[in-house]
Amino acid sequence: MAEQAESKRWLGALAAHSRRLILATVSAGVVVALATIAQMAFLAGIVHQGIVDEVPVAELSMLFTGAIVAILIRGVAQGLQARYAARCSREVRSEVRHRINRCWQASGPVSMSQTSAGTLAREWLDHTDALHGYFARFLPQMMLAVVVPLMILVVVFSLDWLAGIFLLLSAPLIPVFMALVGMGAEKLNQQHFETIGRLSGQFLDKVRGLTTLQLFGQTAPAAETLRQRSDEYRRITMKTLKIAFLSSAVLEFFSSVAIAVVAIYIGFGLLGYITFGPSSDLTLFSGLLILLLAPEFFQPLRLLSQHYHDRAAAMGASSEIVDRLQGVDRPQPPAEPPHHPESPDIVAVRDVALAYDAARPVLDGVSLVINKGDVIALTGPSGGGKTSLLHLLAGFMQPGRGHISVFGERAGDEAFGWLGQSPFLVHGTWADNLRLTTPGATDIAIETALHHVGLESLIKGRERGIYSAITEDGQGLSGGQARRLSLARVFVASYDLILLDEPTAGLDSDSEIYVLEALHKLAQAGKTLVFATHHQALLTLANRTLLVTEGGVADA
């Protein structure tokens, strides 16, 4: 419940942010309603004058013109309503995407890597899109469902208060309707999506294992299982749906009965059979107008019930987005830590402490000076703080105490080379992958870089060379090759500082040799390298080895 309230609050804040477009949508909807009332009044007036007063049609042209103008206004307002609604949804979704993006930036690479990329992408794309129906349809309709019936009620009361009371009698029922509709729609929605979800799950599961089924010649029985399961789900779902649909039937019943009652009351009133109340003043005009307005009284509610699932979808999506946004908002360190400039020739770590959990600091009182051109190996037990120290040097995290200066700048202010534990490559060509971090790299630089990491054999003989796609024909890169590709990015750029986290972990022997050679070349080129490793060959490559353990750093 608390979570729902949180989602509601957040959606409310978003609505407040796009207040103007929501108001524009609702206003257009109100104009539609006003034009509809005017149109019906003109039509009823034409009927009255033409039939009761027998005014020749030609003399009714004023009324006809009025009706046509009302119809045109109604159409234009309808179009505008759609336009504003679409723009509002677009604005909201864009705003939410920007917010999530800012939240990602604020949380940094370290905490980003703790959630799967698929989940984060789904939040950013699909959950944000799930807000569309709420802002484009449900929210404006929610307001219109209150305003429009009231407007119609005012008109009907002015025509015949008893007929107004008939409609009004159903008005106290409207909140009841809404609750009914809401509960019904919610249930319906839930049930429907559950069924679809399960069916899709079953289907996808079979598709995923299709090759296995083919190998055993079992595709036909699997199709049969799929059919039987689907049928079972359908039967179970239908039982619930039969009850859920009752709520919309109730709405339909009340609106039909209200129209019938109003029609019969007006008819008897016009005949003079009703001897009390205002019915003696009824005319064909007022009677017909009341009848024509009666369905419009219920129409906004009907639309609202149709859009109810938009609300459920938005609530579900927003609760996850809110979780993500809040997860970062709270423990945010000061955005701009004070900078203590030091010599541009050293990387200086001064009395730095870092703790995820106050009782057990990961690093405590670490001081360190790394000279330009040093090759530093960080070693020590896993969990000892090697990776954390790298993250601090990268500026991905801010120390709880102390400060870090990288060549006279704040950590992370200048571009540097980073090789994390999970290599990444983008869908595209070799050139795309290398230009991602160095947009200006020349073809020759890219070829050289690929040569340095021993990947040139993969493009040799390919028609388009570095412009051929990396992943073709389902053949991706092995983990080692992907790691080398990441290293190639470092070669294309001219970084002074290169940080590497376990650059040889889990590599096959070929890749390992290439990585070692590549690092050696980088060291010879005078780059400052800092890597966390246990690997003996890498330790030999370093001109200084630091042991990171129990929160402290010492020369090994």
């Binding site: 046509i68 598709v207 089924l213 359908r234 070929d510």
Partner: protein, 537 residues
Amino acid sequence: MRELAPWLALIFHRPGRLVTGGLLILATLLAGMGLLALSGWFITATALTGILLAAGVQASINLYVPGGGIRFFAVARTVARYAERVYNHDTVLRLLTDIRVALFQRLSTADRDRRTRLRGPQWLSRLTNDVDALDTLYLRLIAPTALAALVTAVLLIAAWLMYRGELAVGLALVLVPAFLVATLLVYLRTRHLVYQQTAARERVRTDVIEHIEGFGELTAAGRIGKHAALCLRQAGQITRNEARTDTRTGWNLGLSQVMVNLSVVLALWMGLELFQAGTVTGPMVVLLPIALLGLQEIYSMLPDAFARLGGTLASAAALNRDCAPEPSQGAREQQPHGNDCALELERVTIRFGDHASVLSHYDMAVAKGEWVGIVGHSGAGKSSLADVIAGLEKPAVGRVYALPLAYLTQKTVLFDDTLKANLLIGRPDATDADLWRVLELVAMAGRFVHEPAQLNTWLGSMGSQLSGGEARRIALARVLLNKAPLLILDEPFTGVDAETRNTIATGMMQWLAGKTVVSLGHAPEALPASDRTIRLA
């Protein structure tokens, strides 16, 4: 539109249900129209009679028939609406089953290469979206369009018969364009906006996933902001297209409603002329315009459905591509030449696209009953070789002759189903005792004998969670159950500890006595004992 043909055929496979469902919607619509039109007629009739009565003229009106009619329509509307929703929802769920089963059957005979290229969660999510687009085609598009056309035609005929030919023609001149504006025009104006949307969305998804995976490297290189802007711009482009689609749909809806309302005015104008000429009665003048007002209800369902048609067509086209049959039906499963030979490779070359070949001109022969181990480091082409032997891939050059075989793929595939169902895939006629025996062999019997559901324990995401090694052993058990004389085992013991591996390997010696076994792995100790070991360079 041709891309929809196979799916429409599937949907129209249940004509009885579709027609019944359509009639129920029609009943709902007509009851609504009837309720209002009859009420309008009744009010006009009573007003005219009331005036006569007030003037002291003797007049009478039959109150029972229209009163009863109004009550009937009110109840009929409610009942028809409820019945329609229940019945049609049932139909939609049935169609959903039909479409999924048919799609699965088509995929199982489709070109495997294409599926392999598309493999992965993204393809599956796209598949789900595409199927969802087809599920509701009937209820959202086909039924409303057919009914809108039908009801319009009925009203036009009624106008012709009960009023005058000119009136019917005049109405047709307004309503036919209104129908086209709500359907065809919406489709034409939104087609190009929605057709590429699904593909565009998947592209953005790929980019966002890459953005997140490369967050560290991009941040380090100072490119994270630029890359984020790229993702935002692409997503913004999609949202803008959606907003334009919605806006155009809205304008078309507005325009078609204006035209329907104009037809109301026209009917009133000509009706009044007929009334004043003494051709029709006063209440009749009111009847037709109010019925026409009721057309708005069904016309308003059309534009939205047609705005999505472009996307639905794209989905159908994508599914058709997925289901495209194998281009060449290569004659596989050729028996080995020699009588005592179980597997023969003749100058086999394996290559992917324009990459360098993984294996070239490779010869191999395995005798019946022989156990062969193939070892090589990662990337040496073991799995490709296994795929070629099993017939999943075709060699670029050369031929493969093999006895019927069972193949344990490198990837462990278990289904979201019971343990029993998972094992029976290997041998559908296996008894429970067989299953327990093979579970005993792979040292998994103990794991399930204490489960309350035993062999019916649910595996996978919804049920019992298996470790990687446990799942591997179930997959192995499935292959061991199979009756094929030749077994191809690719890394059979991934994730299984050495002790258990030895127990299983010993058990396999007995269980598979007389069969031919080719096992592939990174090192001999990861394989069951072999008569000979081949090393791939």
